[in-house]
């Protein structure tokens, strides 16, 4: 089964030949992967080299933390990817961005207002948690559609605080 893994922007073809063999850009590897203690921590023997990595899914992307280096990997079925490419363009997050509280905390400041235009990287909310003030930024440019919290308010983990619509 053929996949395309896009690792930090670089496309790598990974073909799963059988349970213990994969071809990476055509080069064959003997592989043996085990989840340690049933956790998302994997021991991989690849051509007898030993690696250990965390593999987490975050927003449909895989984060692989390997020897202290983080790789962002998008894994796609090769056929689907080819079809999509033929259809034109990359998948791009088009919907509004919902800023959710990454942890419970206290809203210290909301430096934006509804209707305001923001750039990628602009601070939307300052949230205090674990004795630290954390700046939560917009991952893209757009218009602030909704501000659902105010300074001094306690929020639960996952609570939507600000909505930014595509411009």
């Amino acid at each position: 089964m053929k996949y395309i893994a896009t690792v930090n922007g670089q496309e790598i073809e990974v073909d799963i030949l059988d349970e213990h063999r994969v071809a990476v850009n055509g080069e064959e590897y003997e592989v043996d992967m085990v989840a340690m203690s049933n956790q998302p921590l994997y021991s991989l023997l690849a051509n007898e080299r030993s690696f250990e990595g965390y593999v987490y899914e975050v927003n449909g992307q895989w984060q692989v933390l390997l020897g202290g280096t983080l790789y962002e990997v998008v894994v796609e079925d090769e056929q689907i990817k080819r079809l999509r490419k033929a259809g034109g363009g990359r998948r791009e997050a088009k919907g509004p961005f919902l800023l959710k509280a990454p942890m419970p905390g206290l809203v210290v400041k909301v430096p934006v207002q509804e209707g305001q235009e923001v750039q990628k990287g602009d601070v939307l909310v300052v949230l205090e948690s674990m004795k630290m003030q954390n700046e939560l930024k917009s991952p893209k440019a757009g218009k602030v559609e909704k501000v659902k919290v105010e300074a001094g308010q306690a929020v639960e983990q996952g609570e939507v605080m600000v909505v930014v619509a595509a411009p």
Binding site: Q10, M33, E52, L66, G68, V73, P102, M103, K131, Q133
Partner: protein, 504 residues
Amino acid sequence: MFNKVLIANRGEIAVRVIRACRELGLQTVAVYSDADRNALHVRYADEAYNIGPPPARDSYLRMDKLLEVAKKSGAGAIHPGYGFLAERADFAQACEDEGIAFIGPKPHAIATMGDKARARATVAAAGVPVVPGTEGKENLTDDELLAIAPKIGFPLLIKAVAGGGGKGMREVRSLDEMPAALRAARAEAEAAFGDGNVYLEKLIEGARHIEIQILADKHGNTIHLGERECSIQRRHQKLFEESPSPFVGQDEAFRQKMGAVAVRAAQAVGYISAGTIEFLVDKDKNFYFLEMNTRLQVEHPVTEYVTGVDIVKEQIRIARGRPLSYTQDQITMHGWAMEARINAEDPYNNFMPSIGRIEHMVLPTGPGVRLDTGIYAGLEITPYYDSLISKLIVWGETRGHAIQRMRRALEEYKIVGVRTTIPFHQNLLKQSRFIAGSFDTRFVEERFSMEEADAMRETHPEIAAILATLVAHQETMRAAHIIRRAKRDTSNWKWYARWERIHR
């Protein structure tokens, strides 16, 4: 003489103090908030008392409750750890008033050193060099500060009088920036310490943060245990410490000069117990008194490793009225020690705090590795307290050996459930400037980024591709299975009954 000690703290430092007490044959009393019933310090103490809801102001900062527990349990002494009430003169005084030994300095020393302006005036009078600033002038208004600022010169720092740990601190490069910076600093100081007073201080550029560990007993003996290098900071929070400092290195004369000045600073306030004199050191080896931490420091283990002195046990001995176990000439530094602070923060996401359940851990062990921690697999990391979950300390015969050992220990250390600063330290230890020992307090903020560090190292994109693909493939296969199976559904309680029966 007390035989039972109440530890007015939580987390790794509470565990550290309990260990010292236990090794001295003393009974221990833990306190815990509702969020900490399962914490390690509760498990390890001989007694444990609930003192209220999770927010610190309702539990760990409640002097009345702590004193009540001390009396109820018959504890003859209180160790405050660091943070919380450790540098509150009123708490030390309240302990004294109740006839409970406070394992720390006298209230007067805490009060003097706790007020940055008074501290600087006091040590300056004893001949200790200080950074130019508004020391000694309390309760200055914004207008007064704006008038003084140009005389000190820019760049300068606005700092909270009651502060510490970078809270209520702002850097200012010109007069224009001052009003806004003052507002922000005062607001933060007010929120953090209940005191919005601030002062100004000249910013020493390219400075290193080097501190001297002090021990002083009630018999007039004050010694120093050499220096610690603490310049690896982010937003004025220390991340990585070592002893000796690579900047001091083999310059024993310089070390002893700083040590002697530090001893003088401590003596200027009649200091007893363990304390730390923080210096800013410029590239010409001029050093300026920054502040005194009148408590045990987070980074005390690096000093313990190179000197062989158990600082917490010495604190307890001192509080019991015993003389120090060592004289100055018995203190020598062997080898090199380093400490990496492991915080529940995501270094790839602006050091955002990370909470959750510790699902699994593999700890680094073996020769030359010490771990101070308050967590274990199964513990929930909550948002109420500091993000420091563990300190990894290593020792090596030389700085090079210590770096190599720290690298292998970081590689071994596996924590599943929260993101941690382990990858930050792994990247730090690959930086050539760090390895060469040439860095100042701005290094992390100005010369370091996780993404660039990752990119500079030997990478294995093909291995990352294999791992992600195999995991994704497994997930897909599993999902396919489930969809097939789930076609014949059944109600939830039925499933639950069977599950419980089979899994109990």
